[in-house]
């Protein structure tokens, strides 16, 4: 891989500033990636807006008519309430509504929940997002670390019994849908074998326990997150393992490993700094991406285990037709995914010295 060099732009007088700015953006790795992320978020915002407003039986209209039917208010009153809740005015043409929406977004205003009037969507987000981040974070960490270690072991002991067993298990758990693994955990461990107490693991923390910065709370949270985390780890560790195994195997064949042995370096040093570090590089970038997808896929696992994170809220919002919350969560999830992807790209630049931007020419 060659380094991406950014020579200082020789501004020729004929070149317009716009095209040279565009050029600079395209050449600077970090800026280009960030620009792309922003564009994606913008597109998704737009899509989500139009999806909500153009779906058959537009939720806004449905809401207005529901209000009218339930409370017998006039169309205008209902409309005004809708405007307040959705941050839109249905009288305006769609284009203006869209701009209003964007404006509100930029102020951090995601609207209010339809079902709990007075609760802003943003506050819902803040209340439930940390739980998802917690479980996804813990799960990702365990899965990644376990995957790297096992992957390296498999590479060093290729074709051994351990290698075959781990490959098989990893592949098996990866192909079975994650929610099914979750159900299996409950059914087999909980019901049939009575190993775990399902009822008490429900929810994100035990009733009566106050959220606080304390070890007790942390352990309690872990206890409740155990099933989602276990499900997640089981279904993803296989991919990390196989990826690390193949990376390690190819790294082992590299010249610098042979030369390192010729230099008399110790086995441990070679394994960590020469093989491990090089093999793990592509995976580290993947971690951020995986995190993004985990947040997106959380709706299934959290609903299954009644773990009150952002996915569970989304599910109940869909079921109860709380359109503003849905829209908000959708945005936040997408934003997380985009952010995660961006982080992955930036991270890759940081850890692999070959993919760097140099401002001096030559090397």
């Amino acid at each position: 891989m060659s380094t991406i060099t950014v020579p200082l732009p020789k501004t020729s007088p004929a070149k317009s500033t716009v095209s040279s700015v565009v050029d600079w953006i395209r050449r600077n790795y970090y800026v280009a990636r960030s620009a792309k992320a922003l564009i994606t978020i913008y597109i998704v915002t737009t899509i989500s807006f139009f999806v909500v407003h153009l779906m058959p039986g537009s939720p806004v209209e449905v809401y207005i008519y529901t209000l009218m039917a339930q409370y017998g208010v006039s169309y205008e009153t209902a409309q005004n309430q809708a405007a307040a809740l959705f941050s839109v005015n249905v009288n305006e043409p769609l284009g203006l509504q869209y701009l209003d929406y964007l404006g509100a977004l930029l102020h951090g205003n995601l609207g209010n929940s339809l079902l709990s009037p007075g609760t802003s969507v943003a506050s819902v987000m803040l209340e439930y997002m940390p739980w998802t981040l917690f479980s996804v974070g813990v799960a990702l960490f365990i899965s990644f670390v376990l995957g790297i270690v096992l992957g390296m072991v498999m590479a060093f002991r290729r074709e051994s019994v351990l290698d075959h067993i781990l490959s098989f298990l990893g592949s098996l758990f990866h192909s079975i849908p994650n929610y099914i693994i979750g159900i299996l955990l409950v059914v087999i461990l909980g019901i049939q074998l009575n190993l775990i107490d399902i009822a008490s693991m429900r929810g994100s923390f035990s009733p009566g326990v106050k959220p606080a910065v304390s070890l007790h709370f942390f352990l309690d949270a872990l206890y409740h997150a155990a099933l989602p985390v276990l499900t997640y780890v089981l279904t993803t560790v296989g991919s990390w393992m196989l990826l690390m195994k193949s990376n390690t195997t190819s790294t082992l064949g590299e010249d610098y490993v042979t030369v390192a042995r010729a230099r008399g370096l110790g086995d441990w040093r070679i394994m960590t700094a020469y093989v491990g570090r090089n093999a793990v590089i592509p995976l580290v970038a993947q971690v951020a991406v995986a995190a993004g997808f985990a947040v997106g896929g959380s709706i299934l696992i959290e609903t299954l285990f009644v773990y009150q994170g952002i996915g569970w809220v989304l599910n109940s919002a869909i079921a109860q037709r709380d359109y503003t919350v849905m829209q908000g969560i959708f945005l936040v999830i997408t934003f997380s995914v985009v952010l995660a992807n961006l982080l992955a790209d930036l991270l890759y630049g940081k850890i692999d010295p070959r993919v760097r931007v140099q401002s001096e020419s030559g090397g």
């Binding site: 010249d255 610098y256 042995r261 010729a262 230099r263 008399g264 700094a273 090089n278 010295p353 090397g363």
Partner: protein, 350 residues
């Protein structure tokens, strides 16, 4: 074992204990690779001594076994290789050790401390995620307890010796340096622990002509200054002419001729050596035709009976096709494995 009986009609250069300044003694070394179609013998009965401070060139085509021989000296052959027979005796001051019997930890110490090998094609010889400085530190700290400051200073010294600018190079990552610079970094790194022996595998291949020149000059100067023994493995005879004290030519895994550089070049006794010499065009154009060696490189799985070179030899006779070829002494410093060496030296072809 073996299909050729190596009758080493020895006089001088015999037992290592007798000669005070022999640092490495290889005796009857056989190396084979296990393939799905049976073992392939890459090195057959190689025997030579390396004296203190001398440079020995191992010359041969690809497939001649020279790289394999080099790798075997530090026991970094691939997993598929086996050494069914032979001895590699290493001597430092008054202590000798048998390299092939060293345990893992001793072998690790042996590598780079006593004998360092600089591989060919330094493209990927350095860890891409560590700076050059870190790799110097790694190398030293694997063998000695030394502070980074000290290592840094020594690295600077060595880098200057190979004509590189220490500040810039030490801070850099391998991909930021050119191929020639990386090669020189490796050479500098190889001297870190002051080994007695330096093995250089094709040190100038894949470098442009100017860098080749620079590297050769560096090597020559280093040898003069630091006095280590060197083994050059190459197909390039001109390299041998520049840097070697003794030259060994290898063919089909066998050392077919070994002697001082002048004797090899001007009084060669083996048809292969002679052919190699004749194949090199001279700059001083004399309108000589380019003579390439007829035939193709040997198939190591399917060697002919008798002398392995006979299908391509200009001096071949009937007995070459059938009988084993012993090593004979041409003089007290030159040895050859050819039945007709006298004719070769006197240029009588049949």
């Amino acid at each position: 074992m073996g299909d050729t009986v190596m009758n080493h009609v020895a006089s001088s250069g015999g037992d290592i204990a007798n000669t005070a300044d022999v640092v490495l003694s290889v005796k009857d070394l056989w190396i084979e690779y296990l393939t799905s179609r049976g073992p392939v013998r890459a090195v057959r009965g190689a025997t030579f001594d390396l004296h203190q401070g001398e440079s020995l060139a191992l010359i041969g085509e690809s497939g001649s076994g020279k790289t394999t021989l080099g790798l075997s000296l530090i026991r970094l052959l691939p997993h598929t290789a086996r050494i069914p027979q032979g001895q590699i005796t290493y001597r430092r001051k008054d202590r000798t050790s048998e390299v092939l019997s060293l345990g893992a930890e001793d072998m690790r110490r042996f590598r780079w401390e006593e004998c360092a090998m600089v591989f060919q094609g330094a493209q990927n010889a350095l860890n891409p995620v560590l700076t050059i400085r870190d790799q110097f530190v790694d190398t030293v700290q694997a063998h000695r307890r030394q502070g980074q400051r000290q290592i840094h200073e020594r690295a600077e010294e060595l880098l200057r010796l190979v004509q590189l600018e220490p500040d810039r190079v030490l801070r850099a990552y391998p991909h930021e340096l050119s191929g020639g610079m990386r090669q020189r970094v490796l050479i500098a790194m190889s001297l870190l622990l002051q080994p007695q022996i330096l093995i250089l595998d094709e040190p100038t291949t894949a470098l442009d002509i100017l860098t080749q020149r620079a590297v050769i000059d560096v090597l020559r100067r280093l040898k003069e200054q630091l006095g280590f023994a060197t083994i050059f493995v190459s197909h390039d005879l001109s390299l041998a002419a520049e840097l070697a004290d003794r030259v060994a030519t290898m063919y089909a895994g066998r050392i077919v001729e070994l002697g001082p550089v002048d004797d090899i070049f001007y009084r060669s006794a083996h048809p292969y050596t002679k052919a190699l010499l004749e194949a090199v065009p001279t700059v001083v154009g004399n309108d000589e035709k380019l003579i390439s060696i007829p035939g193709s490189p040997p198939d190591l799985r399917n060697l002919p009976e008798g002398c392995p070179f006979h299908p391509r030899c200009a001096f071949v006779e009937d007995r070459c096709r059938t009988s084993d070829v012993p090593v004979e002494w041409v003089s007290n410093r030159q040895e050859v494995a050819c039945l007709r060496w006298r004719d070769v030296r006197g240029e009588v072809k049949s």
